[in-house]
Symmetry: C2
Subunit: 86 residues, 2 copies
């Protein structure tokens, strides 16, 4: 039983991590970040960086990996938000 | 030491949870969800729902609370995405 619970946690981590990739692609492709909230991007990126440090401190590879990928997505989205400002 | 690590984890959870509230507010206020990726919203919401079930299965109140709030934000954003389609 513990195994299927851990698998569900891993599926959850993969989904909430890869979710931002189509957003990065769409924002890059359309060159539009108009309806993305800057506050959301900044608060979210801060949270993800906290998760990343937390992952290192508790020595959890899944937490480190998921949040490292999400942090990179977040940096791209912040860059696009500044770049495509109108 | 374990206490400050747990506090960092809680700060991370709070930040990545509340991050979506300004996005929900902005999308509702501007009636524009144009640059939000539908794929991102659907994959993210699926992931958050997995986290929520996972939270119940491991009996973790912070995981349940954070993901319940994020799930509601995600449902609002999906609703806006359909509603404000142009």
């Amino acid at each position: 039983m513990i195994d299927s619970i851990e698998i569900l946690g891993l599926i959850a981590a993969v989904l909430t991590t890869v979710a931002f990739l189509p957003q990065v692609y769409k924002t890059w492709k359309t060159k539009s970040a108009e309806s993305l909230s800057m506050t959301m991007l900044l608060v979210f990126e801060s949270g993800v960086l906290c998760w990343l440090v937390y992952g290192f401190l508790i020595d959890s590879f899944p937490v480190i990996l998921a949040n490292a990928i999400t942090a990179v997505s977040g940096i791209f989205l912040l860059y696009f938000k500044f770049r495509y400002k109108n």
